[in-house]
Symmetry: C2
Subunit: 310 residues, 2 copies
Amino acid sequence: MDETGAIGIDWGTSSFRAYRLEAGGAVLEVRSAPAGILAVDDGDFEGALEHLIGDWLDAHAGAPVVLSGMIGSRNGWVEAPYLPCPASLSDLSAGLLPVTLARGRQIHIAPGVSTRDSGGVPDVMRGEEVQVLGALSSLDDAGPQIACLPGTHSKWVKVHAGRIEDFSTHMTGEMFDVLRRHSILGRTIEHAAWDDASFLAGVARSGQPGGFLHHAFGVRASGLFGELPPERAGAFLSGLVIGTEIRAACQSLEVTDQAPIVLIGDQGLVGLYQSALHHLGMPTEPADRHATARGLWLLAEPLQSARGEG
Amino acid sequence: MDETGAIGIDWGTSSFRAYRLEAGGAVLEVRSAPAGILAVDDGDFEGALEHLIGDWLDAHAGAPVVLSGMIGSRNGWVEAPYLPCPASLSDLSAGLLPVTLARGRQIHIAPGVSTRDSGGVPDVMRGEEVQVLGALSSLDDAGPQIACLPGTHSKWVKVHAGRIEDFSTHMTGEMFDVLRRHSILGRTIEHAAWDDASFLAGVARSGQPGGFLHHAFGVRASGLFGELPPERAGAFLSGLVIGTEIRAACQSLEVTDQAPIVLIGDQGLVGLYQSALHHLGMPTEPADRHATARGLWLLAEPLQSARGEG
C-alpha cells in the first residue's frame, strides 16, 4: 500500500521545495531546487512541476497535491485570491484553487492571507501563513502567540485558537540590502566582516530617540569620527534595521513579553533575531524544522479525507 | 575705490558658487559652476579656484576670501576640523583655516560643526551652518529658532542668540532615492508622475502606527490592491519619507509650533516641505535667497576689520 498521504509544495519567488508526506504529516522525502517562480521560463509552471516531481505524481496517483507561496500570486500559475484575517487552516483549505494538469491530475493552489492595519493600509502574505500555522499547531495554545519570519520582507504573525488574527510586514532585509549596496553607508562598511557586539549595539541604538532616517545617517557620521570602523559597521547597521523592525512590530501587534516568540526561517537569520530579541528581554522559541511540511499536510488533510470518503 | 568687501564661496560636493560681496554683505556678482569637489581632477583645488575666479582675485587684491562647505572636508582641499555645538559665527570665524595660494594670496577655509545626539552618536555638517546663520541673522531672535535644509541628507538646526545650539541629520532624499531606484517599490512607481494629494497622504501615513519599515512595505501592498496606482505611488513615497523625517526631527529638537520653521534650499524641495509642514499645522518662513552670501559675509567680516585695523 502507498504510504504517501499527500504531496506538499512550498513554491516561492526564488525557491521550490516539495515534501512527500505520510498520512499524519511525517516527511518521507524532500526535494528542493532553485526553481522559484521567477526562474520558470515563459510561465510554464506545469512543465517545471512535471520536471521536478513528475515521478512522484506517477508513483502516488492518489495523494492530494497542495501548493503554497508565490505560485498563487499574480505572477505565478494562477492567482488565488487573498483570504482576509482572521483565517484558519480550514479557511485556507476551503480556499484552495483547483488546477487540472494535462495528465488529468488535479492539484490545489493555496490562497494568501490579507489584513489591514490600524491606518486601513493592506498587508499581504503568501506561504508564510502555512509555515506559521504548521509551526504553531504543535504548541500549547493557551493564548495569542506570535511568530516572526525574518527575511527580505519580515512577517510578524499573531495566532490565536488556530487562526491567524493579524500580521504585519516590514521591509527589513531589503532595507539593509539597499542601504549597504546603494547608499553612502556602503562606503564605510567592510561587507565581509561581522561582529556580534556591534550587531547588539545597533539593536540598542534603534531604541534611542532620533528616528530611523537619523540613525541611518549616524552610521555614516560615526564612521567619519572613527567610532564605527568599517569592519563593525555592517553588523551595526544590521542590528539597527532589525531592532527597528522588532520594536515597531511588537508595538503594532501589542506583543507582551509573556509567550515566547516563535522564530521561523533560515538558521542564520533566526540566530540573529534570537540574539536581538534576547537583548531586548524577549524569550524566543525556534520552530520545528518541519513546520512548513506540517502546515502543508494540515492543508491537504481535508482533501485526503474527502477522497477517502468518496 | 574697490567696493568689493569680500569674496565668499560655497563649495560643496557637487556644486561651486562664488559671491562677490560689498562691505555689508550685499551681493555684487554671483558665479556658479557644476565644479563640486568630486568634479575636481587630482585634487587640484587651487587650479580650479584660479580657473573659476582668478580674475576676481586679480581685481580685488584686498578682499578676504572665505570658503565654506565640503571643500573643508577630508576629501576637500584641507581638512578644517569640526567645531562642536554650540557654535556662533564668531566661533566659525576664529576657526577659519588659512591656506596660501601660489600667487601669495591667503584664503580661508571654514570649519564644519558637530554635535552629539542624546544617544551620544555624532552628527556633522559643512556649509549648512553658514547658510543657517546667514538666514537667521536678519530675523528677530526672541527665542530658539529652527531652520530646516531639505535634501539628500536633510538638516534640522536649532539656533538661539546667534549660536547653533544643536542639529540633526536625516537620510531623507537618499532614502527616497534608493527605495524608488533599487527596491521592489520601484516596480510600482511611475517615476515621471506627481500628485500633490498623494504626497500629503504619504505625510499623513507617516504619523500612523507601524513604523517606517512597515509603511514602506505598505506602499507595495497598496499597489497590489490597486489602492495606490503607479502614477501616485512616487508622490506618496516622497510624502512618507519626508513626513517621517519631520516628525522625528521635531521630536529630537523639541520643536514647538510657536516660531515658524525657516526653510532653506532648492525652491522645489522647499515647496514640498512647506506643504508637508503646513499639513502638520506648522508655520514656515522661506529664507532670504541671499542667506548663504550673507553668512559668508558675516564669516569674512572679522578678517576685513582685522585688515582695516592693520
